[in-house]
């Protein structure tokens, strides 16, 4: 490792350290076969907020946990130090360290529904924190009420006696934050606290966090893959890739003038829900895993500016200004580069719309719900979709947008025949669709294909990728073995996967690759209508942009019609030509995409748009000229 050469540089960046000083942390697996994070140094003053961004697998959670002197099962912190108020946490005996955790430095985990014990009442868990760390507090009840108020939760006894499962996701996350806050720690480490929440819930939570940090003067380490959220919360940001910090500095500097090719790529991939935006651009290749890190710069295999040096040597830390650092050999070449981004403007979208097309899918007054055991089948009380109507023209991409519980997935399942609507009809081409997929003809089922939300559960873990893609071909077409083999090859090529994937199993694939396989399986049927249910929501931005590019490309090449369900307006902005906004099972607004973003009519659409933590105009790569 190139530790010795960059030592003076890291020394400078650490010179003002007073509250937290992290030096050269390295975490490896127990058998020292691979390094998960390496050579990470930064410092933090009280009241400061520090963001850690990166794709999944970049080591950001490992780093967040290492700050508390914790390493996950099978890994260990092999070197480095974490000085909290001058005391090295990593050299403390376990019992002392345990006292520091939760007292001086606290952790808010990603998923509050698994982070809180469902059998313990809220006030009991809060009380427990106080009893362990601050038994001398004279009136713990007041303190509990105080932190609940700070996190903008009700502080009455009735609420305090609730169990975590009785609360909504946003409330659970606030409880997790209250737990982290109750002992007045110096530092809170939050690991993706808003991931998995709806945009409006997320924006409220972000406000709470911002206010708390200001009021309590606590330092915050905020880990997230969402660049928009990080932009709106932190002052300092570190971009991680392959277990290293590759760029670090003031958040406004990094976002407006990124220097590292990876940071640029990441920002180019972020979809923006603004009136004017570029189409997100994917970073080629897949993120590196800790066990096959290249010997030199971890980003070298995907970098378009790489030189010979990059393949063999780790770039040293370069100081650009007082608190700005970057690891790259080819900064000058990279800074001259202008990306060829496509503006998502009215012309581009209207060009799509000017050709008058026949209507492919017509949804008329669909109502659907889930029946509980005792209620009658025809009770409209349980409807999650209420008299929804919309049309999709042939070869078009229409997006259904809404928060969780808005009925958008149920709507999609009705079209796929997986859920029986209570009322209404769906016309596909010239035919009225049967409600149940079982009563539809095989030919009709072939014409409508669905790509489900979570690629982890949509591919059978016991079936090879080749068999998964081959099955629809065998079912729908009578092809000779040679023909079907050729077709599989062609499909893999279309979704940009290599043919050596055929013998692999889904567990060996990354999230983006799995989603490509799921798309290939749907395409194997030569469908006319592709139903996509949140297909990119579990993916990292760089991968997400790749899938969006792929869908766009397929739609143009094959003339396929796409219905795209998503909660993310930014994603929708880049793919759909028409948007249907749903709330509580009802369509509140439905219009051409650019009109929705330029002049939203419905207050709910406006609320959704303003809740998105967007990157600003000044942030790279900016907005297209008018």
């Amino acid at each position: 490792m190139a530790q010795s050469e960059n030592f003076p540089a890291s020394e400078k960046i650490l010179k003002h350290s007073n509250l937290l000083r992290v030096e050269k942390i390295q975490v490896r697996d127990n058998d020292s076969r691979f390094t998960i994070i390496d050579d990470i140094s930064f410092d933090l003053q009280s009241g400061q907020t520090f963001g850690i961004v990166g794709e999944s697998g970049s080591g950001k959670t490992t780093l967040a946990m290492a700050l508390l002197g914790f390493s996950r099962e099978g890994t260990k912190i092999t070197s480095g130090s974490v000085h909290l108020e001058g005391e090295n946490l990593l050299s403390l005996p376990t019992n002392v360290l345990r006292n520091r955790r939760g007292n001086k430095i606290t952790y808010v985990p990603q998923d509050p529904s698994t982070g809180l014990n469902p059998n313990v009442r809220i006030n009991e868990s809060l009380r427990e924190m106080l009893d362990i760390h601050l038994p001398e507090v004279s009136n713990p009840k007041d303190r509990i009420a105080e932190v609940l108020e700070m996190t903008q939760l009700p502080s009455n006894l009735e609420f305090q006696r609730k169990y975590p499962f009785q609360l909504s996701g946003g409330q659970q996350q606030r409880i997790a934050i209250a737990l982290a806050l109750i002992c007045k720690p110096k530092i809170i480490v939050m690991d993706e606290p808003t991931t998995g929440l709806d945009v409006t819930t997320q924006s409220k939570l972000i406000l709470v966090i911002q206010k708390l940090i200001k009021e309590t003067n606590t330092a915050l380490v905020y880990v997230s893959h969402d660049l928009g959220v990080v932009r709106s919360i932190v002052d300092q940001v570190a971009v991680m890739y392959g277990g290293r910090i590759i760029e670090q500095g003031n958040v406004s500097d990094i976002f407006s003038k990124p220097t590292h090719p990876y940071t640029r790529g990441l920002l180019e991939a972020v979809p923006r829900a603004t009136a004017r935006a570029f189409r997100p651009k994917a970073i080629p290749g897949a993120a590196v895993e800790p066990w096959d890190l290249p010997p030199g710069c971890p980003f070298a295999p995907r970098c378009s500016f790489k030189s010979l040096e990059c393949d063999s040597k780790m770039p040293p830390v370069q100081l650009l200004s007082d608190n700005r650092m970057v690891r790259c050999f080819n900064l000058t070449e990279a800074s001259k580069y202008k990306p060829d981004l496509i503006a998502l403007d009215r012309k581009l979208l209207e060009a799509n719309d000017s050709v008058s097309r026949s209507i492919k899918l017509e949804v008329v007054e669909i109502s659907a719900g889930y029946n509980t055991f005792r209620e009658k089948k025809d009770s409209s009380q349980n409807d999650v979709v209420n008299a929804v109507s919309f049309n999709v023209s042939s070869g078009d991409c229409v997006s259904i947008v809404g928060e969780s519980g808005s009925g958008k997935t149920t709507m999609l399942r009705c079209i796929a025949g997986l859920h029986q609507p209570r009322k209404g009809s769906i016309r596909f081409g010239n035919e009225i669709l049967e409600n149940k997929s079982k009563s539809r003809t095989l030919e009709m089922r072939r014409r409508i294909q669905m790509v489900p939300q979570n690629p982890d559960s949509s591919l059978n873990p016991h079936t090879s990728i080749g068999d998964i893609i081959k099955r629809p071909i065998d079912l729908y077409f009578k092809l000779s073995p040679q023909q079907s083999e050729a077709k599989i090859e062609e499909l893999l090529d279309r979704v940009h996967l290599k043919s050596n994937f055929l013998t692999r199993y889904s567990r060996e694939l990354s999230g983006g690759e799995k989603q490509r396989v799921a798309i290939a399986r749907a395409l194997a049927a030569d469908p006319e209508l592709l139903l996509c249910d949140e297909v990119v929501s579990s993916l990292d931005v760089a991968v997400q942009a790749g899938i969006l590019e792929l869908l766009q490309e397929l739609r143009i090449k094959t003339g396929m019609t796409i219905v795209f369900v998503s909660h993310d307006l930014g994603v929708v902005r880049s793919i759909a030509s028409k948007v249907v906004v749903m709330k509580d099972g009802v369509v509140v607004e439905s219009d051409l995409t650019h009109r929705i973003f330029e002049s939203p009519q419905n207050p709910y659409t406006l609320e959704l748009l303003s809740a998105i933590p967007n990157l600003g105009k000044s942030d790279y790569p900016g907005e297209p000229q008018k």
Partner: protein
């Protein structure tokens, strides 16, 4: 034998143990030096020339009776387990696939069957229908079926609700394809573990039944029966009891070692690609 070369030592030992006992029980009747039903001399006589294990409670050749006696117990327990397990697997998958009333009805019925203690259920059936080979197989299947059914049903439920099954349904796949190609692979790991417990238990059940006198009827020879008939004479001539007991023990241990190995092999192939 390529398959064996990849397995661990304990698996190979386990398989060898099982094969050894199988060989004894299948080919034993050809190796038996004497007629197992012929009365030779005094009961519980100690070994003498031509009769290395001595004589049993009726003065018959212990060795010959041991060699012949493995066949029935093993056949009944293995066939009985297989019938019950296959039916349980099929019904479990079918029940989970069908959901709703079919599922509830089958689950309720299996609970009723499980309500009877295994031995009592077998005794009832044998008492009603008489102790013949097929009745014993049937009785053993009835013991295994609801238990395997319950296991398969609970293991298959997660896969049933997964989106790959949903996609297969919307694609137009048939019932059997979904049951056996999409759902059943995720049932296999617990099914195999269960087999490791259930096959030995079945052998013991059949042996217990013989011991109680409701299995294979005398004068036919059977390990359980041999143990029952000769246990009083453990102090006089322990040899006639020892071999059947040892064989049963070796078989149990062997089956468990072998199935553990199979489990590990599956686990290995399921490890995440860290290496």
């Amino acid at each position: 034998m390529k398959f064996l070369s990849k397995t661990s030592l304990s698996t190979r030992v386990g398989i060898t143990m099982v094969l050894f006992i199988f060989c004894i029980s299948i080919f034993g009747s050809f190796l038996a030096p004497n007629d197992p039903n012929e009365f030779i001399g005094e009961a519980f006589a100690l070994p003498f020339k031509g009769f290395p294990l001595g004589l049993d409670s009726y003065g018959r050749d212990s060795l010959s009776r041991f060699l012949v006696g493995g066949r029935y117990a093993l056949m009944i327990s293995i066939v009985g387990y297989l019938f019950g397990a296959m039916a349980g697997l099929f019904l479990g998958l079918f029940s989970v696939y069908s959901r709703g009333k079919t599922d509830s009805a089958l689950a309720w019925f299996s609970e009723v069957l499980i309500g009877f203690p295994s031995l009592v259920l077998m005794l009832l059936l044998v008492a009603a229908l008489g102790p013949s080979f097929w009745v014993l197989v049937l009785a053993l299947s009835m013991v295994n079926l609801p238990r395997v059914f319950r296991l398969v049903r609970s293991a298959a439920q997660a896969a049933r609700e997964s989106s790959y099954v949903e996609i297969a349904e919307s694609r137009g796949e048939g019932k059997l394809f979904i049951m056996f190609r999409e759902i059943s692979p995720s049932v296999m790991p617990p099914f195999l573990v269960d087999a490791g417990v259930r096959i030995p238990a079945s052998i013991l059940l059949v042996a217990s039944l013989s011991f109680l006198g409701l299995g294979i009827q005398p004068p036919a020879s059977d390990w359980g029966l041999i143990i029952s008939e000769n246990r009083m004479a453990l102090t006089i001539n322990p040899l006639s009891v020892t071999l059947p007991i040892l064989s049963l023990a070796i078989l149990m241990i062997g089956i468990n070692l072998a199935l553990d190995g199979l489990q590990e092999k599956r686990k290995d192939s399921f490890k995440l690609g860290i290496e």
